[in-house]
């Protein structure tokens, strides 16, 4: 795994496990990889993984069960998405908005980009196999998630 330099490694590891929980690689109430397994998989010092798991346990994403290792907490997926949504709205949207203002980009431009079908197509393609994530997004955006990935003509199967 390659790590970015703008964040401590333990955070990046925690984020990776969160991503995997969101994607359903580790279901709720299922066993998460052990510290040792994860450290070997990523080629990272065991103590760094311990630190990552500590923050995940503090956030309630995983729980340690005595003698059995770590398990994904029921409801963790929703909680992660809620936290990320909060973070997105409170931190990234304001940055985005001030950049919009600086560049003279209007809400209409954004709305336009937002509703462009090929834009959604791109998202869908990147998240292929993660239907639930898309449903989540669209729910959140107040849209009805009625069409399934791959059904929109020219969306999921084009390059």
């Amino acid at each position: 795994m390659n790590f970015a330099e703008n964040q401590p490694i333990y955070r990046q590891i925690a984020r990776r496990l969160e991503d995997e929980v969101v994607a359903g690689a580790y279901g709720e109430d299922e066993r998460a990889p052990s510290v040792r397994e994860y450290s070997a998989l990523l080629g990272v010092n065991v103590n760094t993984v311990v630190k990552a798991y500590d923050t995940l346990a503090q956030d309630g994403t995983i729980q340690q069960r005595r003698g059995m290792g770590y398990y994904v907490t029921p409801g963790a997926r929703q909680a992660i998405l809620a936290r990320r949504r909060d973070d997105f709205l409170s931190r990234r949207v304001p940055e985005f908005v001030s950049e919009m203002k600086r560049l003279g980009v209007g809400v209409a431009d954004i709305k336009d980009a937002f509703e462009r079908p090929d834009h959604l197509g791109t998202v869908r393609k990147e998240k292929a196999g993660q239907h639930t994530v898309i449903a989540e997004r669209r729910d959140h955006l107040g849209e009805v998630a009625e069409d399934r990935p791959g059904q929109r003509p020219g969306a999921a199967d084009t390059i």
Binding site: E5, N6, S39, A40, L41, L42, G43, N45, V46
Partner: protein
Amino acid sequence: MIKIQNLNFGYRKAWPVFENFSLELPEGKVYGLLGKNGTGKSTLLYLVSGLLRPWSGTVETDGYEARERRPEMLSEVMLVPEEYDLPAISLERYVKINAPFYPNFSRELLEGNLREFELGGDINLGRLSMGQKKKVIISFALAAGTKYLLMDEPTNGLDIPSKAQFRKVVAASMTEGRTVIISTHQVRDVDTLIDHVVIINNREVLINSSLDALASSYRFEIRQSGAPADDVIYAEPSLQGNYVIARGQGSGDNSFVNLELLFNAVTVGALNVQQ
């Protein structure tokens, strides 16, 4: 524990490598031993494993004076030198000859490591490339199960995918109480593996600190040129702005420790951390 006290050593009388040098490395950690070429990184590893003897002062490894090379110590110390020759025999035979010196040697680990490195089958040690030899010797060293594992520039000669494999096999073989010292100037290859960094320069220990402590006392970040720099200890230009080391604000919001930047800062004298 590795305990070095008032060490004096050199290869020539007029040119000591270490003068009154002291260093203690508690067990159970992965140490990154960094230093410019010729600062004595390899020499230190040889002294710790008993291959060299101090002029004066003591080097204790696991409670034994390393210079005495007692079997009890040697069976718990493994050194992977930077360069070595392997005999032109089969791996099978090599293992048969060498494994008995290491009571905790694990065949299973050896095979797992070789598999990770994509080496398998009947290996003739005489017919391997330098990189492959390195993989074999590292696989064997990790499988030996010694309490102390010293590796001198282990990623030299490894190609890019092998470096990731190297990190995996080392991470997988870290057991409780095991002490690993990796001497390197290729810090990028090991920066996710180590939890403690020792930097030596001009016969002195300039940094001896856990990465955690560094991450909470200092911030490693990119700043736009022209941004306030009151707290900046060291800066290097980068494509995005200046890559700086600044005094941390004790927010507990840990930073990514950029070892390269740290190393450069230390060798120009901008920073000195002892714990």
